[in-house]
């Protein structure tokens, strides 16, 4: 079974929910936790351990100056601006290249071949006996987040239970993360901004047809608007985490409430049961 944990924006406590859920599940079964927030992966902070790195590469053009006639076709074709044909050479901006392969097709001289270039890595570790952590890491300045997400998901493939921590927001990386999942947990806060972002995230998940439910984090007990919205959209509330100094203190030092606060292991186990129910699959 595959579960994604997403939110319309950063800072809602999405990763904390993912880490607590993974930690709780690892007490009784094998679980793989995949950090798909490749621009700012942070799950390893909850589970410090030495990791094995696998590089992620993408293909970029390499131009043979002996064949190139500086005709300009490749630069005109590339809509990402990764190629600029100048008077005496073709300049490549590898970090702008989306590896579409088009330039090598349009080059009338056959002067372009594709060569691999490293854009990030996937770090694998086993911080708990039944937990595998797979973190996608996109290198600074790179744009191809979906490629690294795909690589991270691929490495976790085959595990019977996989949790994906999506990047915040609703852009392509999130869509890539949602690909193939059975259920999605949307994490929100009960503020007007939180609701606005939840609305956007809910729309994206709805468009994918993936069953979803909501976790309200840092709840001050006045969640009426969020509850109304969820009822309207048919989104079940899977869990409510109250705002409390005790919880905040544990989380601020990178701790997990399922481990450090009595009662929370059970609640995260219940969260999993609730997700299984909305997914309608065998866990």
């Amino acid at each position: 079974m595959k579960i994604a944990i997403a939110s319309g924006k950063g800072g809602t406590g999405k990763s904390t929910v993912a880490a607590n859920l993974a930690c709780t599940l690892a007490l009784s079964r094998e679980v793989a936790l995949v950090d798909c927030d490749v621009e700012e992966p942070n799950l390893h902070l909850f589970f410090p351990d030495s990791a094995e790195d696998v590089p992620v590469t993408t293909l970029v053009p390499e131009i043979d100056p002996a064949l190139c006639t500086l005709c300009g076709e490749c630069g005109k074709f590339c809509r990402f601006g990764a190629l600029s044909v100048l008077k005496d050479r073709v300049l490549l901006f590898p970090e702008l290249c989306h590896s579409c392969g088009g330039c090598s097709l349009v080059c009338p001289q056959g002067a372009i071949r594709e060569v691999p270039r490293t854009i990030g890595r996937v770090a694998c570790s086993c911080p708990l006996s039944r937990l595998t952590l797979v973190s996608g890491v996109l290198n600074e300045g790179e744009v191809m987040a979906p490629t690294v997400i795909r690589a991270a998901k691929m490495l976790a493939e085959g595990h019977p239970l996989i949790l994906y921590d999506a990047s915040p927001g609703i852009a392509c990386p999130v869509i890539e993360t949602l690909e193939g999942v059975d259920a999605c947990i949307l994490v929100t806060e009960s503020t007007p901004f939180g609701l606005h972002d939840l609305r956007l995230a809910a729309e994206v998940v709805e468009s994918t047809g993936i069953p979803a439910g909501v976790v309200i984090n840092r709840s001050d007990g006045r969640d009426e608007e969020t509850l109304d919205f969820c009822r309207e959209r048919g989104l079940p509330i899977l869990m409510t985490i109250p705002f409390s100094r005790e919880i905040a203190a544990i989380q601020n030092r990178g701790g997990l409430i399922c481990r450090d606060l009595p009662g929370w292991e059970e609640r995260f186990a219940d969260l999993f049961e609730a997700v299984v129910k909305i997914a309608g699959v065998n866990p």
Partner: protein, 112 residues
Amino acid sequence: MIVGITARAAGTDAPVEQRFGRAPYFVFVDTETGKAESIENPLVDAAGGVGPRAVQMFSEHGATVVITGQVGGNAARALGMGGIKAYAYRGSGSVADALAEYTAGNLQLLPL
């Protein structure tokens, strides 16, 4: 020498545009003949990577000098590699005004 100027419309009377890659028009002036050619920039609404593509257009038109407001990092690198000098014009005047300022030596080189 060909000087390329970023502009809001066609012709040398058009106001200078501060943005480089997203300028609606590029006006190329041949300083020997005084002839001007205006090109509509197809990249105004492009999603990204406009800098390097705009540089290719300047290069194709034989420009060795660019007058504009500011250039981004990738465009600056491409201009630098292409041996095209970029000068800053921050006034609100026309293409002709900017050219006159350039000829008078009043414009600052943009760091590339």
